[in-house]
Symmetry: C2
Subunit: 206 residues, 2 copies
């Protein structure tokens, strides 16, 4: 693409660096911004820079935060004894969206994956063990991806936590709500057969 | 979506205001920026604000420009006597991409469309007539959308230019290169029959 303005060209280039945004989409976004009020566009630029510069990570659960301790950890109406272990803050957002969870989180930053060079030391596992040792904790729920790496991570951490006597659970894996049995892969179907629930548990929940 | 950080939430909200970007995509972009170096993200924000604040429009052709006169108008190796009239700067970029045009442009800013409340006064028609009157101009090529509005605009301007004796043309409309005759709409097919070319013109170009 040839532009008659350097300013425009650099703006398009910057947008095109974002994932999933090609040069045509970038141009569309720039043309859109060009039509907006100057103050709004300035605000857009500022918010982005500020977000990157000022955002912090909660010292307790490693979630994104505006302060040293995030708003979830510092919320006294949430059960601080119930920790849900997740990979990234995307899962925090997904679980919060269900409005069904009232405990706190621990963001690992990924799962153990030796092929990708990610060992236990690259993740926030040590701080989870510290929390389990120092804070009063009733239950740790693992909400990791249903992959071999996820399972390895659960196994690794669970071994380390065994001595604490804390109740350790994982979120249920099975056939998705609204999913069709016929089209479910064998692995999921086999697992959901193995982990079958007494009907009274299914109907009432725990 | 519930965020544990206000800064993040405002950044997601800002991205979600852009056309074609929903909240999930906005979150993906913000998470991407969060992983980038601080300087790069700051640069991103700055480039966007600067672009909006400093970009100007060429006083001659109304194309985007970094100076009073754009780089196309001030390029002396381009034919200043050949003006291509387009709707927006998107078309300038599209035509420049062909690398086949060596004249200058005139950006109207749209087409006459009474239903949308766009009359000749809202467009840069007056300044085109001024250019035709003051500058030495050999030919004006209309490259507008093949719609009723586009045709109306051509007709309106062409009437005003009649007295000048300048050669007025429009880009060819017909079946797209690689298109299939069978699937072409009747209007296009009818027009391309009416505007048929002697074969020697087709083979050699003009």
């Amino acid at each position: 693409m040839v532009f008659s303005s350097q300013l425009m060209e650099s703006a398009v280039n910057e947008f095109a660096k974002l994932p999933g945004i090609g040069r045509k989409t970038a141009l569309r976004l720039v043309l859109h911004l060009l039509k907006q009020e100057k103050e709004n566009v300035e605000h857009f630029g500022e918010v982005i820079s500020r977000m990157r510069n000022e955002i912090r990570f909660c010292q307790r659960c490693h979630n994104v935060s505006d302060a040293d301790i995030c708003s979830i950890c510092s919320n006294t109406s949430r059960k601080q004894e119930l920790i849900c272990v997740v990979e990234t803050l995307r899962e925090v957002i997904a679980i919060e969206a269900t409005q069904q969870y009232n405990g706190v989180y621990h963001v690992l930053g990924g799962v153990i994956s030796p092929l990708d060079g990610i060992g236990p030391d690259q993740l926030h596992i040590e701080s989870l063990l510290n929390r389990a040792a120092k804070e009063k904790t009733d239950e740790i729920i693992f909400a990791l991806s249903p992959t071999i790496q996820g399972d390895t991570t659960i196994y690794y951490i669970q071994k380390k936590l065994q001595a604490t006597g804390i109740r350790i659970t994982t979120i249920a894996r099975g056939i998705a709500f609204g999913g069709e049995l016929e089209y479910t892969d064998e692995m999921t179907l086999a697992r959901s057969l193995q982990n079958r629930l007494p009907i009274e548990n299914y109907v009432t929940g725990r």
